[in-house]
């Protein structure tokens, strides 16, 4: 049934199945198999008898709680900083706009481990800002704060891009009308724009949360790995693999389940653009 979906008629924009040649089914199904088969393989690997014990071991629970806490915190940071970024990028036109927009999206295409190394050279003890921060008694490396920073760094573009798209889809007349009625910029933002982009904002936040939850490379390079402090679920999986592959598989399934949930939620909330 999944096979047919790429060429299913989409009545909304009037495209029909006949517009896609049938031979596209072959590469399309190879592509689907490439994604579905490995996920199936890991599900088949799970030892269900041990599953409850494996995912409730103290180190697993500690990693899961840390992951939820840090991903939650970085999602809040993404929203607080990312919505203003999206507003600036979509409403203002200035010199260097295109460059700035590309820079903001950079963490999305950059290898996360490179992001981690970059953060280390920024906030590390010998880093650009780290040296003066250490003088003030602020130590970020090896702390949960470092995990949140790494996650925010990689997840931010997902929020910015989704909110920006939602802002572009706004009807300019609605805003103009409000301004004509004498509403100040802040009032327009609060009472008109934010409620209208809310579905986009929520799916952006869900995507950012998911990206933060799965973050590995930047975290291991920047924050280190210590149970309860910096060892999030992906790091725990990476470590468990050394001695207890069954536990690694069980925890992987947990993250896959989270991903499925996220795709479902974000998909259901996708605004009609």
């Amino acid at each position: 049934m999944t096979l047919a979906s790429p060429v299913m008629p989409r009545p909304k924009n009037g495209r029909h199945a006949s517009s896609s040649p049938r031979w596209l089914l072959i590469p399309a199904s190879i592509g689907i198999a490439l994604i579905v088969v490995p996920i199936l393989a890991i599900v088949l690997r799970v030892s269900w008898d041990e599953f409850p014990a494996l995912v409730t071991s103290p180190s697993s629970v500690s990693a899961l709680m840390l992951s939820l806490r840090t991903a939650g915190a970085s999602t809040v940071l993404c929203v607080v900083l990312g919505v203003p970024m999206a507003l600036v990028l979509s409403r203002l036109r200035f010199r260097g706009h295109g460059v700035l927009r590309s820079l903001v999206l950079l963490p999305m295409v950059m290898p996360p481990v490179v992001g981690g190394v970059a953060l280390l050279y920024t906030f590390g003890r010998q880093g650009l800002l780290g040296e003066s921060m250490s003088a003030l008694g602020i130590h970020i490396a090896y702390s949960t704060t470092a995990v949140v920073l790494a996650q925010t760094f990689v997840a931010m573009p997902f929020l910015v891009i989704t909110v920006e798209n939602a802002l572009h889809a706004l009807d300019p007349h609605v805003i103009e009308a409000a301004v004509m009625d004498g509403a100040g910029p802040t009032a327009v933002l609060r009472t008109i724009m934010l409620p209208l982009i809310m579905p986009g904002l929520i799916s952006g936040a869900i995507l950012a949360f998911a990206r933060a939850l799965g973050e590995f490379g930047a975290t291991i390079a920047f924050a280190g790995s210590l149970e309860g402090v910096t060892r999030t679920l992906p790091l725990e999986i990476y470590l468990q693999r050394e001695t207890d592959p069954d536990a690694a598989v069980a925890l992987s399934l947990l993250l896959i389940a989270a991903a499925v949930l996220v795709v479902g939620l974000a998909g259901a909330r996708r605004p009609a653009v």
Binding site: I30, L34, L120, A141, G224, R231, D244
Partner: protein, 248 residues
């Protein structure tokens, strides 16, 4: 539709297997070796190639990763592990052809950034919270050794991070992001001038042994055995000793 699906899922495999040509069975072997052996085994491989004309290709990774690959049917002729536990697991899975033999050993040492900013002198210094110490997690060989050494010396370590690879420990010390780390002597040697090495007496009590064996999956068991003998022989041992490995 079913047939199409079967074809579609088989196609990538067919494409992939087309890339892996069978190769010449007589003059090439594949060696799976622990990451800590990268420099010395590369050199040993070059010497072996010069002496015998056999082409040696390597797969260097964490011992547990290599064991998992072997378990999944990766074709290899020789396996050299960084610890006996991993080798025991591979042996228990029935993947070895000959009884594994110890060919090298390694002990732990303290490394600090080259200027030793925290003035670390011995293992007891690493117990304090004011010194940022980075060690290996107990799940990996260097972490197991770290736990044993700390217990033997009766020192309670308070690490800032427990890395999953010894190279990550070294990396954090090299970058000056840690005041001290516990790594193997060979890792400290490889880092050269970038780090200061501080030996401590308790390290002698915890020796990490490296076993090597030929594998059941070997297409070329005679050449594989020849390579193992070369590693155990005079030339191989000299190279390992230069890299800082101890005697088996």
């Amino acid at each position: 539709m079913k047939r199409l699906l079967a074809f579609a899922s088989a196609l990538p495999l067919m494409l992939l297997s087309a890339c892996a040509s069978p190769g010449e069975p007589t003059d090439a072997i594949q060696v799976f070796a622990a990451a800590s052996l990268t420099e010395s085994f590369t050199e040993i491989g070059e010497q072996f190639e010069r002496d015998t004309g056999v082409e040696v290709s390597f797969n260097f990774a964490g011992s547990a990763d290599l064991a998992a690959q072997l378990d999944q049917g990766a074709p290899a002729d020789v396996f050299a592990s960084a610890d006996e536990v991993t080798m025991d697991r591979v042996e228990a899975a029935g993947l070895v052809r000959t009884t594994p033999a110890i060919f090298a050993s390694n002990t732990l040492t303290i490394v600090t950034p080259d200027d030793n900013p925290a003035a670390v002198e011995d293992l007891t210094d690493l117990a304090g919270d004011e010194i940022i110490t980075v060690v290996c997690a107990p799940q990996v060989p260097c972490g197991t050794a770290t736990e044993e050494v700390a217990a033997a010396a009766d020192v309670e370590l308070s690490p800032a991070s427990e890395e999953s690879a010894v190279t990550d420990v070294l990396g954090k010390v090299r970058a000056g992001e840690a005041d001290a780390g516990l790594v193997f002597v060979t890792d400290a040697s490889a880092a050269g001038e970038d780090v200061q090495r501080i030996d401590f007496p308790e390290s002698e009590g915890v020796v990490n042994r490296y076993p090597i064996t030929t594998l059941e999956s070997s297409q070329n068991p005679d050449v594989a055995a020849e390579f193992v003998a070369f590693v155990e022989g005079e030339q191989g041992q000299a190279i390992l000793r230069d890299a800082g490995f101890g005697r088996p």
